[in-house]
Amino acid sequence: MTDTAPAVAAPPPSGRRSEVDDPDAPKKSPARLDINELVVAYGGLKAVAGVSMAVEPGSIVGLIGANGSGKTTLLDAVSGLVPLAGGTLHLDGQDLSDYIPEERARLGLVRSFQDCRLYPELSVEDTLMLCEDARRRVSVLATTLQMPWARRAERQKRQAIDRVIGSFGLERFRLHSTAHLSTGTRRVVDLASIVLANPRLLLLDEPTAGIAQREAEAFIPLLQRLHQVTDATILIVEHDVPLVFELCSKVVVMQTGEVVAAGTPDEVRRDPQALAAYLGASDEAINVSGPVPAASGPAPSDSGNPPAEPG
């Protein structure tokens, strides 16, 4: 298999899967996230020290900064994995403080993890089914007795994941346990589960970590496509600066738990504080990935298998 960029098909003319087979689901729209004076402390250390930002509905906001600047902690706080020491979080004006992680997931807040470990012993199929389980619960009793509605729900879930497995080209890996997949393929599975989760706000933690540079480039059109398909607001933490500048409508630079610069990619690129904090003085860091075509990525004819491990 050749190591080339992905093909990105045209956007669907109509109807996401959620509208097709899940008529009960409320009509969803991208969410707005307001972070106000957020503080997260580990012991005496303030990992996030009073961060405020607004993430507009439907935008893609990039979060960059050196290691230990509090980016992942910020995502953890938003998804409810770490307790807040101060400040507030609002999703569409709703205070999130009373929601535990699994409840936030039900509000449409979905995140991916940096390590992308997924569930080592689960097959790809089961991993995706799990996303459907979270959205549509069937009681254990009904499952045990194989009630008609339980069977129907299971069948519908299977149809839903069949479509996603098809569109992500995961058919071949369907029965493999995720532990046996390469990092790249696991990321694809992760993205597939994101699509299934039908997010309103998507938190991505270094989606290109552990992926070769060339494959990372391939992620830009993929993430754009993901944005289109899920119609979600995206907050992304990423070290690949060119990817962030290409993808995001707004970039936030963090340093030691604080926001040092924020604005459009162009503004941040010129911001002296941002340069000092993270980007460095030279253009080299900014152009790691090289110039990226502004359009929808490389031609489909190049399609190959980027997530596969090189070699």
Partner: protein, 685 residues
């Protein structure tokens, strides 16, 4: 609460033994990150051998002592060499391996060249000093313990504090990987630790033996190990001095409690209750610090690689599997017609054990919660059968007992929210012991403040007799009828567990086990899912308990001894941890084999202990793996046969493509595939 001062000293002497044992546990835990269930048995081998040398061969005591301690040290080192193969395995597996090890060590004590001719003789003591405190006479054995135990612990502490081996051990306790990278010979250090632990265990057994009147092999039994574990846990599984002193404390507390017992039958139950509560408290208080370093280890893949072959899409392979199950079922169903009463009874036993093993597959295999106390749940079911079994029809009794046990199980599971892995295993073992010696052994008790009498224990703890009911007109009194009934229960259980496996329950449990954080973020309710595993498992164990009660008809508290819980763990591990047929094969192996070779303790321990070790070491997928390979072989044979008939050569490419997904589980990218599969593309949904 009044007591003579001698009670304190007596308790302290007992406590010195617990303390020594606890120190050994901590020593192993620090280097191998495993609770060594063989810690007691290591020394028992030496103590038995000492008796042999002293009486049968007429050795001088001190010579015999040195030889036996050296033997225990050697056995300890040897054990480490065996367990070393499991270095990279989940710690829970290693712990189960130490259970197997302790059973193999038990075998040592009955080998003719170690076992003395007469077992019930006074254990030799080299001194004859005695002294009085009040009216209480302290024996030479007590004096020996008072002198030797502190000296040994001080020597060990000095060794760890000042020698380079000790430094290496302390470094390993903090971070084995880093220690390894900075040049510490991790494996050799761990051998040294096991050698020391073996010697220490020998000293413990030699000191503890003189005060025992029963057979030597019982000197360091599971409940004694649990006391030592309690002390070790108070020491956080790290601190040798704290563990030692806590051991003494446990001994004193225990002795004081026993001194104040007025009613012997309820009194010992109270003692057990207090011990169980102490254990829980130690675990919960220590939970945070205990798990500081263990999370990394637990991140490694938990199960044993069976998931890869769980479901292959090949239709022919499925057909082979189904026919295999069908044929087996027909054969087994016909068995009661041809075999005698004894074997029909055995068949019931195997079926019921199969259900219990399945309940553990759900809890341990899928949810990753290690339970060493499954028979505690079985006991709840049996207890319910003893109380209301004659009152309501069996068809109702089974789900009612199941539901009630599920409730108890969820309560036990609540501790699992704070503690897990090895510590959960310890607490469930404590629960099983508590059920046996406290709840079941007390027919009735009066609540202290409201003076209300509750009768929750077995009506007669020594021997409770219940009669089998009829089941939809089928008289279950004949053994063959009960065998069919048990088979029916087993088949229904398998069907139920299969539904859980294939229709969405198992994947939730496994997801929470494998990655709690991600599962929570994906919207799976973590706490509820963990408790669900306990509820499902408890439900099965509960109705299995009803069946077991009716199968045996006469039972006592000993029917639910913790050793049976450990037997069930062995079944599941031997069978294959997360496999349904594996659990059944394990039950068949451990219950059926002894019947074929005669049900002596020797055979039982050999089949479980040695088998357990061999399976863990050499067949990580358990018997299920063998079964699956057999299925593959048959499938290949059938394929070849078909190909020969239709004239297509066996190397037919379509046949290869059929086997597609399962063909190359290790590196999926090497397999041939339709163009474009697995790419970073996203076509229209």
């Amino acid at each position: 609460m009044s007591f003579p001062p001698s009670v304190l000293l007596e308790g302290a002497i007992l406590g010195l033994d617990y303390g020594l044992l606890a120190v050994g546990l901590v020593l192993i835990y620090r280097t191998s990150r495993v609770v060594n269930f063989a810690q007691g048995q290591l020394g028992v081998v030496a103590a038995v051998f000492l008796v042999k040398l002293f009486y049968d061969f007429g050795f001088n005591y001190w010579v015999a002592l040195v030889i036996s301690v050296a033997l225990a040290a050697a056995v300890g080192a040897l054990s480490e060499l065996v367990l070393r193969r499991l270095f990279n395995r989940p710690r829970v597996m290693v712990m189960v391996a130490t259970i197997g090890l302790s059973q193999v060590l038990y075998l040592f004590t009955i080998f003719p060249f170690i076992r003395p001719k007469k077992l019930y003789r006074a254990f030799p003591v080299p001194i004859s000093w005695t002294f009085h405190v009040g009216t209480f006479l302290f024996s030479p054995g007590d004096v020996l313990t008072l002198i030797v135990a502190p000296v040994v612990v001080l020597a060990l502490a000095a060794f760890i504090r000042f020698s380079s081996w000790g430094l290496a051990m302390r470094a390993m306790a903090e971070n084995a990987e880093s220690a390894r990278l900075s040049g510490i010979w991790v494996r050799r250090t761990s051998t040294v630790a096991w050698t020391l632990a073996g010697a220490l265990s020998a000293v413990t057994a030699v000191l503890a033996s003189p005060s025992q009147t029963s057979a030597l092999t019982d000197v360091l039994s599971p409940d004694l190990l649990l006391l030592a574990l309690l002390a070790a846990l108070i020491g956080g599984m790290v601190s040798l001095p704290v563990a030692f002193i806590a051991g003494i404390g446990v001994g004193v507390v225990l002795d004081l409690l026993q001194w104040n017992i007025t009613n012997p039958s309820t009194g010992s139950a109270t003692v057990e209750l207090i011990l169980f509560l102490l254990l829980l408290a130690a675990l919960l208080v220590r939970a945070a610090s205990l798990q500081k370093g263990t999370r990394v280890g637990e991140k490694s893949s938990w199960a044993m690689g069976t998931a890869a072959f769980r479901r292959s899409g090949d239709a022919l392979r499925q057909k082979v599997g189904r026919s295999g199950v069908g044929i087996t079922l027909v054969v087994v169903a016909c068995l009661p017609l041809f075999v005698g009463v004894g074997h029909s009874f055995l068949m019931s036993q195997i079926c019921i054990y199969g259900v219990i093993a399945l309940s553990l597959t759900v809890l341990t295999g899928w949810s990753g919660q290690v339970s060493l106390g499954q028979f505690g749940f079985v006991a709840v079911g049996a207890d319910i059968a003893a109380h209301i079994g004659s009152g309501i029809p069996l068809i109702l009794l089974l789900p009612v007992a199941g539901a009630a046990t599920a409730l108890v199980s969820v309560l036990v599971g609540l501790t699992a929210l704070r503690i897990r892995g090895l510590y959960l295993a310890v607490s469930t073992l404590g629960f099983a012991l508590f059920m046996q010696t406290s709840v079941l052994a007390t027919p009735c008790f009066t609540l202290p403040l409201i003076h209300k009498t509750i009768c929750s224990g077995l009506p007669n703890p020594e021997s409770t007799l219940i009669s089998r009911p009829s089941f939809f007109g089928l008289n279950l009194n004949s053994e063959s009828a009960f065998a069919w009934f048990s088979l029916g229960v087993l088949v229904l259980s398998v069907l139920m567990v299969r539904v859980w496996r294939d229709k969405g329950v198992a994947r939730r449990l496994i997801a929470v086990r494998d990655n709690e954080v991600a599962a929570g973020s994906a919207g799976i309710p973590v706490v509820r899912t963990k408790l669900l595993a306990f509820a499902l498992s408890g439900f099965m164990a509960g109705y299995a308990g009803v069946c077991l009660a009716f199968a045996t008809e006469r039972f006592s508290t000993d029917t639910f001894a913790p050793t049976f819980s450990i037997l069930v763990v062995s079944m599941v591990v031997i069978g294959g941890l997360d496999s349904i047929p594996g659990a059944l094969l394990g039950a068949l192996y451990l219950e059926g084999l002894p019947a074929i070779f005669g049900s002596t303790p020797t055979v039982e321990f050999l089949t479980s202990g040695a088998g357990l070790l061999a399976f863990i070491l050499y067949l990580p997928g358990g018997m299920a793996q063998l079964l699956h390979q057999l299925g593959d072989l048959v499938t290949a044979g059938v394929e070849q046969l078909r190909a020969r008939r239709s004239g297509v050569p066996p190397g037919d490419p379509t046949a290869v493509a059929d086997a597609g997904p399962a063909a190359d589980p290790v590196d999926p990218h090497r397999g041939r595939s339709p163009a474009g599969a697995g790419t970073l593309t996203m076509a229209d949904p």
